[in-house]
């Protein structure tokens, strides 16, 4: 029993009571002081509890039976049985808590501070510290040891990734001459690409599960294009290839908005379904709506002698979400 906090004491046995209790125990019982007020015997509540417990038991048993069977909708039956068993048990306990258990309230003191113990601790620390005379030297040395050891312990975490070398963000599997293939690996021919459709293309023979791999291909009338300066010849026959990965948050730009009646409807656009960043394919992937802060990187295309589409270089800018210091520098293979 602590001095400052008396705690929830109901009865405080003196030495004599303890002795009496021990004697009583040795004698096999006898009269002990009650802790709880006398009472009980709410037979209605007890019956209810018994029924709930039996119901819970029945549900639990049902769960075992249902598990052994192989019904359709098994998950639902299992959930009902287990949930029922838990729920009925909960109900039984709630009835016990509200109807059978005595309703009592204790009054006690809130624990506060312990000035004597505090003083002891302060003295202990202070007196120990006083034994050190060259505090500054020792302090500096200890700090050096702590810092160096800390660094030694933390440095292996750098193996988790190439921390300093961020060059990999500029990598792209595309390079001049690489063919564009579809989902099944068949190369795209330039005349496969139709107005008003959109296509997903991947680099031939490269890993597709990397941000710079997937492309979205669309075809517009060459006369509609207003590509930025320096991208002449990037879109043979009006075929445009853009990275399929949004420059905002890295989701796939899987929407192509293509008006049926351009005179009265919104212009063609590539849209990301995560935050609805919208890019204009006719203007080199310029952002026209949404939170993206950088244009969609465009891949220059060419058509080879066999009529297949090939990359004519690398993307116009880094692929995927932006980072500190990202430049408009073009990625490399």
């Amino acid at each position: 029993m602590s001095r400052t906090s008396p705690g929830p004491e109901d009865w405080r046995p003196g030495r004599r009571q303890l002795l009496a209790a021990a004697l009583g125990f040795l004698r096999g019982g006898g009269r002990r002081r009650r802790v709880l007020p006398p009472g009980g015997g709410d037979s209605g509540a007890e019956l209810l509890v018994a029924l709930l417990l039996l119901g819970s038991a029945a549900c639990g048993a049902m769960f075992v039976v249902v598990y052994a069977l192989d019904w359709p909708n098994l998950t639902q039956y299992l959930g009902l049985c287990l949930g029922g068993a838990l729920g009925l048990l909960a109900a039984a306990l709630i009835v016990v808590g509200k109807r059978i258990v005595p309703e009592e309230e204790l009054e006690e003191e809130y624990p506060t501070v312990h000035p004597e113990d505090e003083e002891q601790v302060v003295c202990l620390l202070g007196e120990t510290g006083a034994r050190f005379t060259r505090k500054r030297l020792l302090g500096g040395a200890a700090a050096a040891a702590g810092a160096a050891l800390g660094a030694a312990l933390v440095v292996p975490a750098a193996s988790l990734g190439p921390v300093l070398d961020t060059e990999s963000y500029y990598y792209s599997p595309w390079r001049r001459g690489r063919r564009l293939v579809d989902e099944k690996g068949r190369p795209y021919r330039a005349d496969d690409i139709e107005q008003e459709a959109f296509y997903t293309a991947y680099p031939e023979g490269a890993d597709r599960e990397q941000l710079a791999a997937p492309l979205v291909l669309v075809r517009l009338y060459p006369s509609e294009l207003e590509l930025p300066a320096g991208r002449e010849g990037w879109a043979p026959g009006g075929i445009l290839a853009y990275s399929k990965v949004c420059t905002h948050a890295g989701c796939a730009v899987a929407l192509y908005r293509k008006p049926r009646f351009p005179q009265a409807e919104p212009a063609p656009a590539l849209v990301c379904p995560c935050h609805y960043s919208t890019f204009d394919p006719a203007e080199g992937g310029k952002v026209i709506f949404g939170p993206a802060g950088r244009e969609l990187p465009q891949l220059p295309l060419m058509v080879d002698a066999a009529g297949h589409l090939r990359a004519a270089g690398n993307f116009s800018g880094p692929v995927g979400p932006s980072f500190w210091g990202v430049r408009t520098r073009r990625p490399s293979a």
Binding site: L78, A249, W324
Partner: protein
């Protein structure tokens, strides 16, 4: 029989005094004090179901071709992680029940924490001497958010892959260190090294549960050592005396009953209401996306913020300095966390009140706090709601861009208004009470 058992234990542990004190620990009685317990029990369910799930889940991105009993995925290429969860859902008896219970438990866990936080805030329960308890609670909330995000991201279905891409973009957008940090976590630009899956897995099943469990233990230990707060009642005479139901026999059956009720609700939901049907979303590939992709509700405020921020990167000299996702995905939650953590100390400084507070305020007793809290809550909730604007468009036909502008303006206009109204309301309530008291005194005299 009982006496012998107690004696046996006391002889070997000397624990009888502690046990007696524990049994007679007093719980002040109010329904809102049980909200934290709901969170605790949801966590218990999470651990129990989660352990079962680890027996079946395979944290691997190695590709495989599915040939299980769910025909619509037959022959598709997918990661082993995704395939193992589809297998768990269709071919493991009770597997889907446990998985869905786990997911519902996560949703309810965070909801209960938020309700508990709201209760603690508006009653001033965080005041001295309970600031540390509160701080640990707020940290647990954010740990729980990350833990939940990791949990549904590991599955590698279409939604989780898109969610991971967004998480990657947010990590990448942090000024100065983003690019390095993302490489540290992912090991390689997105979708990352195969090792990333091991990292996510161990973080989800060990590191974060341990972290939350440890914080939880500290939280409970601090609660027990400082005792619960209580509301002012006629019999609560001073700040120094506590009136409550003893742990045993008064509180124990109720508390256990609540635990079982939480488990029952979660299991019933797990059996009857479908959650995250990953077999319908299909496997994720970098080039795939679906419309209306949303995170679990507790990250909805972040997608709302990401959508509300106007489209710009901070660019200086042709170099991006702060990419766009930073504002909504990193800065915004950090502001919310910092505001929550700093509040007790800010309040102490503003009011100059450094006394012990064991008796709670009713919200009306502290009009300024209640008003600021209501405004802040409204701000976060509105941003949260903006995250579902696209679904609102599909269901109700309200134009997306108009909604966006409504929220962009509304989040700055409405919260101050709500704060003002709340403040007036609190003061009016208190005035009413004062009048009533005076009338009573007059009639008694």
């Amino acid at each position: 029989m009982i006496a012998r058992a107690v004696r046996f234990l006391d002889e070997r542990s000397g624990g009888a005094p502690a046990l007696r004190r524990a049994l007679r620990y007093a719980f002040p009685d109010h329904w809102s004090f049980l909200l934290g317990e709901v969170a605790l029990y949801a966590f218990v369910v999470l651990v129990a179901t989660g352990v079962y799930l680890t027996f079946f889940f395979e944290p691997s991105t190695a590709t495989t071709v599915y040939h299980g009993s769910y025909a619509p995925l037959d022959g598709l290429q997918m990661s082993r992680a995704y395939a193992s969860v589809v297998h768990l859902s269709f071919d493991v008896k009770a597997g889907l029940l446990i998985r869905q219970t786990h997911h519902w438990a996560a949703d309810v866990f965070v909801a209960a924490i938020v309700l508990h936080l709201i209760r603690v805030f508006f009653t001033g329960a965080y005041r001295k001497p309970r600031e540390l308890t509160y701080t640990i609670g707020v940290l647990m909330l954010f740990a729980a958010l990350l833990e939940g995000y990791l949990g549904y991201s590991m599955v590698d279905d279409l939604l989780s892959g898109m969610g991971l891409a967004i998480g990657y973009a947010v990590a990448l957008s942090i000024p100065f260190v983003g690019a390095n940090l993302a490489l540290l976590i992912w090991g390689h630009p997105y979708p990352g090294d195969p090792e990333f899956w091991s990292r996510m897995y161990i973080a989800h099943v060990l590191i974060f549960p341990l972290l939350i469990g440890g914080l939880l233990a500290a939280h409970l230990a601090l609660v027990a050592s400082r005792h619960h707060t209580q509301f002012r009642r006629k019999r609560v005479r001073s700040e120094r005396r506590l009136l409550g139901v003893p742990a045993f026999p008064g509180q124990a059956p109720r508390s256990l009953g609540l635990m079982l009720a939480v488990a029952a609700v979660l299991v019933l939901l797990g059996g009857l209401v479908q959650i995250n049907p990953i077999w319908l979303w299909g496997p994720y590939h970098v080039g795939d996306a679906t419309n209306g992709a949303q995170p679990d509700w507790y990250l909805g405020w972040l997608i709302g913020a990401l959508r509300l921020v106007p489209g710009f990167d901070l660019v200086i000299a042709n170099r991006t300095v702060v990419p766009n996702p930073f504002w909504g995905g990193a800065l915004f939650p950090l502001i919310v966390m910092a505001a929550l953590l700093a509040w007790p100390w800010l309040e102490q400084r503003a009011t100059g009140d450094r006394g012990f507070h064991n008796v709670l305020d009713r919200p009306r007793d502290a009009p300024v706090r209640t008003a600021l809290g209501a405004g802040f809550l409204a701000w976060v909730v509105m941003i949260f709601m903006a995250g579902s604007a696209d679904r609102v468009l599909v269901f109700l036909g309200i134009d997306y861009v108009s909604q966006l502008w409504f929220y962009r303006i509304g989040i700055w206009v409405l919260p101050p208004l709500i704060a003002l109204v709340t403040w007036r309301f609190c003061r009016a309530l208190r005035q009413l009470e004062r009048i009533e008291e005076e009338r009573e005194r007059a009639s008694a005299a």
